[in-house]
């Protein structure tokens, strides 16, 4: 049974709005890529969480153009709006896109923002705002979205009753790739709204015969045929109604309504035998479907018109059995709603793993509360309420998990404090000693670097004397001073020897200066590497030391604040879930009661018709007897 597909058509397309199929190689910011990964799986909360953090960080940078997100910033700003829209946060999505629209951006960006904003307003049924946003589009749009913009414009016109203008726009979109079936169908609706019924019927006929190559086009084509058939039936053109109704796929989401309509078309044209064919097919389908229930009553009626009263009586009997069973199911469903099982069933985790969970839910024997859920989901109000309820349940689970994680955080922090606190004083003491040695070494190195620079500007050979040369030189100076002034004591010969020795040292210093300077330079280069390594280790130690403290200090305030926020948010979520749940139950009860009334009515009709068929069958039997 494929009816749920009908209401998910819109949803599926809306989801397709999301991510441009950027390739992995295009992604230059990993966290942006991660947001796309989450969104690609329909996890919009996680996608928003990641992208919000990335954007916040990006705009907090002094030089955002150096950030990897800079390459995707325009996409990221639009995607935030798209993700918010898909997460049903229309207010925020509108604000995000308005910010782009009002920012200092190119007209092409502004146009795209205006289009996206118009789309949000349209989805929120704020048509005046949607028109205003569309009016902000200036110049030409990129080819990839041009048709979509015009399609949106036509839909807004339709929604505000400007049908003639909508028809005009839609005429230009006929045959547009990607809108196949949709532009044709909507043009028919526009013509119908504009009172041009004859043209509308022709257009529906065209929409009902478009070349469908995918599920969505098939669905819209079926819809066009169903609507056309229904309109022709209503206007008494039974023969003409047959063709479009027969074009509806037998296994499509609209097949039940089409089979029912086809039967009525034949019956209305008094082709009772032909009416039996579609209704026989339909009567064997899922008995919770309204069309199937109607067919169960209509089929024996057709037989009775064929004067096959015995067969009619049997089928009325079967219909009564079915209605009885369905009424029991409805009672069970309503009972389940009253005792709260309905809401519990809606949030069953294992069911949500399957995209057709609604359909599967109906087939689960232990969930009578959801037998009629598929029918309920035909209601937009119910869908909105259900989606909100499921989102709230998801938030509730997240908040509960987060709240529980704080105890784990507390124990991690306590364990770290217990480990580090006795160790750190000793580590700090050792570090202080190493720190002073480190600073001395770095100072020495810096002094040598300066000396090298000085030597390059002004050669000073004595700066490159060896320790032995320095000792010798100092000894010679001391001896010279001890000898006193020249010519006073007859020690001139000694003084001469001192001068010669000093001369040898000076000679050595000057002749070996270049070699010594080169060696000095080479040693300094080696030292530079060692000092860099030393500094790196020093920094690593400092960071590790800081990390040790940071691993258990400074968490009390944020944890306390977060605990409070989560507690408040949980209370709010519980309160909203209760209200949303009540609303869901009310909508569900209203629908089930309406179905119950209809079934009771069918039951009365079937009972009466059964008795009548028996009478007629009996009369016929007597009449045949000699």
């Amino acid at each position: 049974m494929t009816r749920p597909l009908a209401w998910t058509i819109g949803l599926q397309l809306a989801l397709m709005l999301l991510c441009s199929p950027a390739r992995a190689d295009d992604v230059r910011d990993l966290y942006f890529g991660e947001a796309l990964f989450q969104a690609g799986q329909g996890k919009y909360f996680e996608a928003l969480e990641r992208l919000d953090a990335e954007l916040g960080q990006h705009y907090g940078l002094d030089e955002p153009e150096l950030d990897t997100l800079h390459h995707h910033i325009r996409e990221a700003e639009f995607f935030v709006g798209d993700f918010e829209l898909n997460y049903r946060m229309h207010h925020r999505a509108g604000r995000a896109i308005s910010a782009v629209l009002n920012g200092d951006v190119d007209q092409s960006v502004r146009n795209e923002a205006a289009y996206r904003l118009a789309r949000i307003h349209f989805q929120k049924a704020q048509m005046a705002d949607a028109l205003e946003a569309l009016a902000r589009i200036e110049g030409s749009m990129p080819a990839r979205v041009r048709d979509d913009v015009e399609f949106l414009r036509a839909n807004v016109y339709l929604a505000v009753g400007r049908s003639a203008e909508a028809a005009e726009v839609l005429r230009e979109l006929q045959g547009t790739k990607g809108l196949t079936g949709f532009s044709e169908f909507n043009l028919a609706v526009a013509l119908l709204q504009d009172g041009r019924t004859a043209e509308a019927l022709q257009q529906l006929d065209r929409a009902g015969q478009v070349d469908a190559r995918d599920a969505m086009t098939h669905s819209i084509r079926d819809k066009a045929n169903l609507v056309l058939g229904g309109m022709l039936l209503e206007s008494g053109r039974f023969e003409e109604a047959r063709a479009p109704l027969e074009r509806v796929r037998l296994e499509g989401p609209m097949s039940n309504e089409a089979l029912l309509g086809a039967g009525w078309a034949e019956l209305s044209g008094e082709n009772f035998e032909r009416a039996v064919v579609p209704w026989s097919i339909l009567a064997d389908r899922d008995p919770t479907d309204a069309a199937v229930q109607e067919a169960k009553l209509a089929l024996p009626y057709a037989y009775s018109r064929l004067n096959v009263h015995g067969r009619a009586a049997v089928l009325y009997g079967k219909a009564l059995d079915t209605f009885g069973r369905e009424l029991n199911k409805l009672d069970a469903s309503m009972g389940s709603i009253e005792n709260g099982s309905f809401l519990e069933a809606l949030v069953r985790e294992e069911i949500h793993q399957d995209k057709d969970w609604v359909v599967r839910m109906r087939s689960l024997p232990e969930t009578p509360e959801t037998f009629y859920l598929v029918e309920l989901l035909a209601s937009h109000d119910f869908q909105t309420a259900l989606q909100n309820y499921l989102d709230l349940e998801d938030l509730r689970k997240k908040l509960a998990t987060w709240q529980a994680s704080f105890d784990a955080f507390d124990s991690v922090i306590a364990a770290r404090a217990d480990y580090f606190e006795p160790l750190l004083p000793e580590v700090d003491q050792t570090f202080r000693e190493l720190d002073s040695r480190f600073r001395v070494r770095v100072e020495q190195y810096e002094l040598l670097v300066k000396r090298m620079q000085d030597l390059l500007v002004m050669p000073r050979p004595e700066f490159l004397a060896t320790t032995e040369e320095k000792v010798l030189s100092t000894g010679l100076t001391a001896m010279d001073e001890a000898l006193g002034g020249v010519g006073r004591d007859g020690n001139d010969e000694l003084r001469q020897r001192i001068r010669r020795l000093e001369g040898i040292i000076t000679w050595t210093l000057h002749t070996q200066y270049d070699d010594r300077l080169t060696r000095f330079y080479e040693n300094l280069q080696d030292m530079q590497g060692s000092v860099a390594l030393l500094k790196e280790h020093y920094q690593a130690f400092v960071r590790t030391r800081q990390a040790a403290t940071l691993s258990y200090q400074g968490y009390d305030a944020p944890i306390k604040r977060l605990r409070g926020r989560i507690h408040q948010a949980s209370a709010k979520v519980d309160q909203l879930m209760a209200r949303q749940g009540r609303m869901l139950e009310q909508v569900a009860m209203a629908e089930l009661e309406s179905r119950q009334r209809r079934l009771v009515n069918y039951q009365h009709q079937a009972r009466y018709a059964l008795a009548d068929s028996y009478d007629r069958a009996t009369q016929a039997q007597y009449a045949e007897e000699p």
Binding site: A14, C19, V27, E49, A378, T384, Q580
Partner: protein, 176 residues
């Protein structure tokens, strides 16, 4: 960008022809007010999540030891079915991930998966990546690579690209 026809209206219009279930007993005003409150609480919870993420990262993955490994699939990999990936660090299993259809689709659309987040000391480390999947030809694909990388004081971000169809290395590593 895929075509983006807006057809919410279509659904609404179709309801003209179908028989929608009405919420007669439920006040529409209350419904709208509830919807707005749900949007507000979503916003609040997102803000809590952001703060909590920061706290968690600071507490569990300090920047000086933080290692994050991401996975993306490459250009020539559109029809490649990635079944699983096994990540080892210094000869110990770090994580093993089996891909769901949704995850694979998200990767094919250009998404990047955060495969692993953990802590490592500063220094040189070995990373072993093993990938299992199926090639477009239907042939099984199994490949393993071993890389080395240096972990410095800053957080390490490593991107693995799986690209068996490109003619380049089927598993490549990129230090971000």
């Amino acid at each position: 960008m895929p075509k983006t026809p807006i057809i919410a209206l279509l659904t609404a219009l179709a309801c003209l022809c179908w028989s929608p279930v009405s919420a007669d007993d439920v006040s529409r005003k209350e419904m709208r007010s509830l919807d707005e409150q749900v949007q507000e609480i979503k916003s609040d919870v997102l803000s809590i999540a952001a703060e909590l993420d920061q706290l968690e990262e600071r507490l569990l993955f300090p920047s000086n030891t933080q290692l994050t490994v991401f996975v993306a699939i490459g250009d020539g990999t559109e029809s490649f079915r990635l079944d699983s990936i096994r990540l080892g660090i210094n000869d110990a299993l770090a994580t093993h991930h089996i891909y769901s259809f949704k995850e694979l689709e998200a990767l094919q659309q250009g998404g990047v998966q955060r495969l692993y987040m953990g802590n490592l000391p500063i220094g040189t480390h070995a990373l072993e990546v093993s990938v299992l999947g199926k090639l477009p030809s239907g042939k099984d694909f199994a490949h393993a690579e071993r890389f080395t990388f240096d972990k410095g004081i800053d957080p390490a971000l490593i991107g693995i690209t799986v690209d068996p169809g490109s003619g380049k290395a089927p598993i490549a590593l990129k230090d971000w």
